[in-house]
Homo-oligomer: 360 residues x 2
DNA sequence: GTTAGCAGGGTATACGTTTACAATTGCTCG
DNA sequence: CGAGCAATTGTAAACGTATACCCTGCTAAC
């Protein structure tokens, strides 16, 4: 009896010291008078355990303030419940929208998400490799093209059976065995360009992204296809490269404004650049859309609050995020058995006020 | 000899099967003809090993395509080299700028970063707790106030010695033992308000953030202080709550526009809302700054491309991010011994064109 | 030539969990 | 009442790494 009361005191003490950093399953087992296996089962497969012992164990857990050591669990189970998403830049509102979608799906499935940027501090292929190799993650979502780093990195990981899915980015043929979800960038860019053409524009320029970005490369392809189809020439110097940022686009736009044969419309590979473009045109004392029309791409949330509001291609960003995350989950659960057909989601041309009929 | 050549063949095969998922340190040791301890030392403390054996081991590593199991390492060492950052929303350009700073510091220090949002799907206190408890991280950076969830969560973790630092957010007294880095929000808001007053405004309203956000609460405090100091009244209904989003601000602004005693200037608790405010005013057929002046807060990169460009308070976002990450590192390395004095970084009023003298 | 010192490498244990397998208990049914 | 079976619990091994400790052999100082 005396002994028992001492025990109780000790328990109280343990309870007071709540959340000591070092309570392990062992102490819980001891306190509950069961084996560690039983404690483990109580937590992971409660149905495998008598309600009586379960109660004992739950009490002990409460008293010790025990919570399982996630590191040990990850180690033992071989999974971390963390997924990595690789994107060009967290600053781009479009990608953050996709991230939102990813995140809600991740939460639903019990995953945390680790974010890596490729754009920031231009990573080397080695760094990318190192990044992918550190198996702290159960899978990877690529929102950024890895092609600048060589796709071998990917196939290597693929061999290692680390699930990878691709979002937004068009998938190059050699990566066809990765699931992907994205819009039809070529068709969308074509649609944007055709809209300008339908408004009477003939001198249409483009501010595209870096060559390294497949995604924007596709948009350039769509633009060129539309121009060709309409029998319109693309003058030397009408396709200039921004770097997907406002500043880059301003520089690019200045070139277009000073072009001997100034375009009456500019198609930008994303809205971020369209905003830069818009601002640069206004800074030059020209007016949008009267002097130059602009079409953007992505329909970020700032697109409708610019002056004038931006005509642009809208992508279902959150939806892409959710879908891509679910695809990844399927890959994690079912292995390479899970389907790898690309999932094409619909885009939409959103007409606002940055396009008018040309005056010249 | 024959045996040897067979071995070689096997090695080649292993090399071909590069990156098999299951090469462990054991196989490397066997191939190199040393113990696993030596292999481990070669990797972690190369100076503790003869260059001859080091070479042997490195060869073996190359041939097997071995890379250490990060999960096992984390488990053994008790650290993951992952830090978590908790912020209200990844969509806000200000926070993504802070994230950039965090990320460069993290990269420099060899950390990955895990992101959690509080705003998205309103988390419950329990969820927050669970989030913090999963010890997959070596430390936490809080860019969002935890006060809506009760600060006990934090003190609990603190007891567990999980390093926590606070960024951007003003630190409430009971959390004073956490290091923090932020601007003086009250002073900055005062400065913004005083600028409006100096331009002749007397009817100044404010669009503030949710009550749950200490950060924006401080800005409201600064605004009120400046008004009081200038002897200006704050009419009933002049302080309206946005939710830090464009949409929320538009709703709030509509109320202000329709106020019986319409303000001639509006101070917004962040730029995101200032953009919404700006747009709503223009939608109502009024002009900025002629009819209503606007001052924002944060100086996000869109602030200079609005029409008119936004007068706002600039924070050194990237710098805050870097500093806060370094503070966290010090906490991780030195424990609670590391200093916990708040680090105040300078803000700056950036005058653009959204403020004019009042006409009425 | 002997020994202290030391550096390099091996042996073996521990980290906290999960789980296959063994052992025990309790129960049912003949 | 005992055999057999199912349900429950215990035992112990394993995951891959890092490291404390020990052993070996070499060098240098006397």
């Amino acid at each position: 009896m005396k002994q028992a009361s001492t025990d109780t005191a000790l328990q109280q003490e343990a309870a007071a010291a709540e959340e000591r950093p070092d309570v392990s399953i062992k102490e819980v087992a001891q306190l509950a008078g069961v084996s560690i296996a039983t404690v483990s089962r109580c937590i992971n497969k409660p149905e495998k355990v008598t309600s009586k012992t379960r109660l004992k164990v739950q009490d002990a857990i409460r008293q010790t303030g025990y919570s399982p050591n996630t590191l040990a669990q990850s180690f033992r189970r071989g999974r971390t419940n963390i997924v990595m998403v690789v994107l060009p830049s967290v600053g781009d509102p479009f990608f953050t929208a996709v991230m939102s979608g990813i995140r809600v799906a991740a939460r639903a499935k019990g995953y945390s998400v680790l974010i890596e940027e490729t754009q920031l501090n231009k990573m080397t292929a080695d760094e990318i490799g190192a990044m992918l190799v550190s198996n702290q993650t159960d899978g990877i979502i690529l929102l950024a093209s890895m092609s600048p780093f060589g796709n071998e990195v990917l196939s290597t990981k693929s061999k290692r059976r680390l699930p990878i899915v691709i979002g937004c980015e068009t998938v190059s043929p050699e990566l066809a065995d990765f699931p992907s979800v994205h819009i039809d960038n070529i068709a969308a860019a074509k649609e944007a360009t055709n809209y300008l053409i339908s408004q009477g524009h003939r001198r249409i320029a483009m501010v595209c992204g870096q060559a390294s970005s497949l995604l924007t490369k596709d948009r350039e392809l769509g633009y060129r296809a539309a121009m060709k189809q309409a029998g319109l020439p693309i003058e030397e110097g009408w396709v200039v490269e921004g770097d997907l940022t406002i500043a880059g686009a301003r520089k690019a736009t200045r070139i277009l404004i000073n072009h001997g044969n100034r375009p009456t419309a500019i198609f930008c590979a994303n809205d971020e650049m369209a905003i830069g473009c818009l601002h640069e045109i206004k800074s030059a004392g020209l007016r949008v859309p009267r002097d130059i029309s602009i079409v953007g791409f992505d329909d970020i949330r700032y697109a409708e609050v610019t002056a004038p509001p931006l005509t642009t291609i809208s992508q279902p960003a959150e939806e892409i995020g959710e879908r891509v995350m679910y695809r990844l989950c399927r890959r994690i659960e079912a292995g390479n058995g899970a389907s790898s057909t690309p999932e094409i989601v619909p885009h939409k041309l959103v007409i606002r006020q940055s396009v008018a009929k040309p005056t010249s």
